[in-house]
C-alpha cells in the first residue's frame, strides 16, 4: 500500500517537477530501502512510511524555483565570490539570472555545476565563474551599451542585461540564435536585441559600444570591432578550447590605440615548483 502511494506520488512529482525528478527518485529509493530493512518491525516501518509521505508532500509542494534559487545562491557563494569576484552588481546578476533556462533540457540538472556544459553545434555555455569574471572585467555600469559576438545559449547576454542599459548580440549559427531568442522570452528579458549573422562587422547601427564581448573567439580580432569600441571602452575575449578557458584577452582603447592584456582567470601562476 505504502509503495503504491509512493509510486503515485512519484508520478505526480514527475509531471509537476520535470527535471528535478531524479533528486526525488534518489531520495525515495533510499526511503524504500529503509522500509525493506525494517520490514519486520511494523512500528518503525509505519514511522518511516509516514516520514516518506511527509517528505514527498514537502518536495511536491515546494516551488521548483525555490530549489533553483537556492542553487544559484550556492553557486555565487562557492564558485564565484570565494574565488575573489566582489563586484556587487555582477554577483547580483549571477544570483538573478536563471542559468537553468539557458542549458539544454537534458543538462538542466547540471546547470549550476562548476563547469562549462555543451549546448550543441560545438559550443558550450561557459563555466559560471568565467561568465562572472568576464562580466567583472569590463566593469559594467547601468548606462553601458554592450555588444556581444557569439550569443551561444544567451546566458552571458542575460547576465549583462541585468546590469547594463542595452545589450546587442550576434550569433553566426542560426539554430543557436533561434534558441537563445526563445531563452530570452522564457526568462522575460526585453533589453536584449539579438540577430543571426556574421559578427565580423559588428553591429555598426547601434555602435559605438562601451564594451564588447567576443565569446566565440577567433584567430583574429575583427578590425570593425575595434572601430565600434568607444574611447576608453573594453573588449574581452576568452581564449582556449571549448571546455577549458585558459586565458582572457582584454583590449582597451586608449587614445584611439588598442592595448591588449592577457588575464588569467584560473589562478595557476607561478608554474615552477617551489623548492
Amino acid at each position: 500500500m505504502i509503495d503504491r502511494v509512493i509510486t503515485m506520488g512519484l508520478k505526480a512529482a514527475d509531471s509537476q517537477m520535470g527535471n528535478e525528478r531524479h533528486l526525488i527518485l534518489q531520495y525515495l529509493a533510499k526511503i524504500l530501502n529503509f522500509n525493506k530493512v525494517f520490514k519486520n518491525l511494523n512500528c518503525l516501518r509505519i514511522m518511516y512510511s509516514s516520514l516518506t509521505i511527509l517528505l514527498l508532500s514537502i518536495i511536491y509542494f515546494t516551488p521548483q524555483e525555490d530549489i533553483y534559487t537556492q542553487r544559484r545562491q550556492n553557486m555565487v557563494k562557492e564558485q564565484i565570490a570565494s574565488r575573489g569576484i566582489m563586484d556587487a552588481a555582477v554577483l547580483k546578476a549571477m544570483r538573478s539570472v536563471k542559468r537553468h533556462l539557458f542549458v539544454p533540457g537534458e543538462r538542466v540538472a547540471n546547470a549550476y555545476d562548476d563547469r562549462p556544459l555543451p549546448i550543441g553545434f560545438g559550443q558550450t555555455i561557459s563555466q559560471p565563474y568565467i561568465v562572472a569574471y568576464m562580466t567583472a572585467v569590463i566593469n559594467p555600469k547601468p548606462d553601458f551599451k554592450v555588444l556581444e559576438i557569439g550569443t551561444g545559449s544567451g546566458y552571458q547576454a542575460a547576465v549583462l542585461a541585468e546590469i547594463v542599459r542595452e545589450v546587442y548580440t550576434i550569433e553566426i549559427v542560426p539554430q543557436l540564435a533561434g534558441s537563445a531568442a526563445e531563452n530570452y522570452k522564457k526568462a522575460g528579458l526585453t533589453k536584449i536585441r539579438s540577430r543571426a549573422g556574421d559578427g565580423y562587422f559588428g553591429w555598426k547601427e547601434y555602435g559605438p559600444y562601451d564594451a564588447i564581448m567576443v565569446t566565440a573567439a577567433a584567430e583574429y580580432v575583427p578590425p570593425p570591432l575595434i572601430e565600434q569600441l568607444k574611447e576608453g571602452g573594453k573588449m574581452v575575449i576568452p581564449v582556449g578550447s571549448p571546455f577549458l578557458t585558459q586565458t582572457l584577452m582584454l583590449v582597451e582603447k586608449k587614445k584611439g590605440r588598442p592595448v591588449t592584456k592577457s588575464l588569467l582567470p584560473v589562478a595557476f601562476v607561478p608554474f615552477t615548483r617551489s623548492k
Binding site: 560545438g122 584567430e219 585558459q246 588569467l264 601562476v269
Partner: protein, 795 residues
Amino acid sequence: MRTKSYNILFSIGFLSAAIIAFQLVLMQILSIVQWYHFAYMVISVALLGFGAAGSVLAIFQKWMVKHVDALVPGLMIFSGIAMSLVTGITQLPAIRFDSYLLFSDYDQIGRLLITYLLFFIPFFTAALAIGLVFIHNPARIGTVYFANLLGSGAGGLLALMLIQLFFPSKLPAILSLLPVLSAILLLPGRNRFFYMGAAMIAVAVITWRMVQPSPLVLSQYKDLSKTLLLPEAQIKWERTSPFGLIQIVTSPVLRYAPGLSLTAQKTAHVKMAAFINGDWFGAITGLDEPGTSHVLDHTTLALPFIMSERKRVLVLRSGTGIEVGYAVNRGASRVVAVEPNEVIMSAMKNELAAETDSLYHHAGVSVYHREPRSFLMTDTSKYDLIMLPMIGAFGGGAGLSALQEQFMLTREAVAEMWSKLESGGVITVTSWMDHPFRNPLKILATFVEVLEDAGIKNPRNQIAAIRSWGTITYVLTKSPLPREQIQKIRLFCDGMLFDPAFLPGLNAEERNRYNQFDHKQFFSYTDRIFSPSRESLYGDYAFNIRPSTDNKPYFSQYIKWRELSQLAGLVGNRSLPFYELGYLVVIMTFIQLSLASLVLIVLPLLSIGWKGRNNTSILLYFTGTAIGYMFIELVFIQRLILYFGNPVYSASAVITCLLIFSGLGSRSSSYFLQDKKRLWVVTGSIVLILCGYSFVFTPVLQQTIHYGLPGKMLIVLLLITPLAFLMGIPFPAGLSYFSAKNDRDTPWAWGLNGCASVISTALATMVAVEMGFAWVMLMAALAYCLPLFVQLRWS
C-alpha cells in the same frame, strides 16, 4: 573438416586479410569522426578479440571441435555481417560517442563501452574461426599460420589500395565480402544449402550496406563540423587518400589571419579551407601581386621579410601554400615548397589551380612531395629563409598532437636547417601563445641549444622574436643581427602594436608595452633559458619544455607525470584532459585494456585451472615474444617515417614485410624445433640483431636516405626481412613444444600472448614518449631474452 587443404589456406588467408584491412579502415574512420588517437583503441580491440577467442576455445574446446564443420563457416559469415554493420550502428544517435564529451558527460563512457563491444564482435568471431582451424589442423599448424600471416600482410596492402578508391563509409561493407568468401570455401557437406542460404543473406545485407552506407557523423567539436555551420558553407571538393579524407570547403565568411594586428584594416578573407579527416589543414587563397599589401604583412609572420630581402626561400610543410604565396608576394625569386601530402598538392596544381591563381605553376616555385626532414637530408642548396609551419592552435588546443612524431622540430632538425642558411639567412617559426606557456618556451630552448651546440657563445645576438596579442614569431639567424635590422624590427612593432620579445639590447619595458601580460613570468622563464640555469628550469617547470630530439620527437608532449596531481588541483579533473588529450587517451586505453584483457583472457583461463609444471616458463616465453614483437613493429614504423618521408608508406612497408616474412619463418619453425640448439641460435640472433640495431639502424638509414625509392626498399628489405623471418619462429615453435608436453597449456600460451600483445601496443608508445625509441628497441631485445632463457632450459 574434410575440406581440401588449399581451400583451408585460402579461406584463412582471405579472413586474415579482411581482419587487418578492417582494422586499418576502422582506424581511418575513427580518425575522421573523432581523432586518430582512437587508432590505439582499434588495434587493441582487435588483439583483445584474438585473446578472448583463445580463452573461449580453451573453455569450450571439446564442444567446438566436435562442431567445427558448422562453426567455422558460421562464424565467418557472422563476422562478415558484423563487419558490414557495426560501423553504421556506432553512428546511431543513441550509441554515438564524442571523445570531447568523455570528460564532461559520463553518459559518454557507456557509449564508448558499447562502441568497444560492437567493434569487438567481428574481430572476436573471426579470431574464433581462425583458432578453430588451428586446433583442428595440428599437423599443418605451420602452413596455416603462414597463410594467416601472409593474408594479414596482404590485408595491409589491400586496405591501402581500397582507401584510395572508395570513400571510408563504404569500405567496411566491401571488406566484409571476404569473410563470407572464406566461409563459402569451407562450406560443410551436411546442411550445405542452409549455409549457402546464410551466405546469400549475408551477401544481401552487405550489398545493401555497400549501396547505402551509413553516413559518418563527425564530432561537433571537429574543425570541419564547426566550419560547415558557417553561412553558405559547402564542401566543394573531396577525395579519399592514404593521407586521409581531404575536403575543401567554401563559405563567404571564411577568414584567415593568425594574430592579425589590431591596427590592420585589410580584410582576412580567404576563398576556401582544406580539411584532412575533419581537421583544419590550411586556408586557400589567391596569389597577391608582388609588392601589393598582403594580409600576412599585418601579422608577426612578416618578421623575416621586414628584416631583409629574401630571395631564396624554403617552405617546409607548405600545406595549402599560404606562406609560399606570401614569399612570392614579397619578391622571392626561388621558393621551394616541401609538402608530403601529394594528393592535396596535386589538387592545388590541377583542380584548384584557379583558386590559388596557379601558385604552384609560378616560374619561381618548385614543389617536392617529401617529409621535410627527408628533404633536408638530401638537399644541398642554401637559403635566405627557411619557414616552418605554425605551431600549436589558437587558445592552446587540446594537446591532440602530443603523440605525433614531429621530426621537423627536433634539435637535430633545426641544426640541419641552420647549416643550410646563407650568411644573413634566418629560420622562422610562429607559435600561438598558449597558457600555461609551453610551445614558445620549447622553441626558444631548442634554438638556444642549437646555437650553443654550434659553438655560438652568445645566442641572444642571433635570436629575435616579436609578439602580437596571440602569436609569437621567432627568427634564428645565421650571423649576429645587424643594428639596422634591429631598428627595422622595432619600427615594425611600433606600427603594428606588436612587442619585441627578444632582441639584442632590448630593455625590460619595451617587451611588455602593447600586449601586456598580467604577470611577468614569461620573461623570467625565457631569461632562464638563455642563462646557465636552463637545466634547472627544465626540472622545475610543471611542463616538459626540454627540446625534443630524433630519439624522442614528441615536440607537443608536455605533461609530466609527477606534476599531474598539482595540475589537476589547479584546473580541476574535468579540465585537465584538455591539456593533453592525446597522451591521456593512450594511458586510458592502456588501463582499460589491461583490465579488459584480465577479464576476457586471464579470468576465463583461470576458470579451467592451470596446474601444469611449465607455468612460469610459459608466462615468460609468450609474454616475452609478444612484447618483443609489438615493440619492434612500433620502432620500425616510427623510424621509417623519416626514411620514406611518408607515415602511410612506412606503416604499410613495415606491417607487410614483418607479417609476410614472419609467416615464412613460422612455416619453417618445425625445422628449428627438431634441434633445440637451432632455436637458441634463432632467438639469440634476434636479441643480438636488436642490440646491434639500436646502434646501427639509425646511422644506416641516415647514410642511405638520399637513395631513390627502389634503393630504399632494398635497404629496408635487407634490414627487416632477416629479423622478421627469425621473429616468426619462436611463437609457433614454443606452441608446438609446450602443447606436446601438455595440451592443456596451449590455451594459456595463446591467452598470455594475446594479453601481452594488447598491453604492448599502448605500452610501446608510452616507453617511446618517456624514454625514446632507442630504449624501445633495447627493451624489445630484453623481452626476447625471456624466451631465450626458457629455451636454454629445455632438455
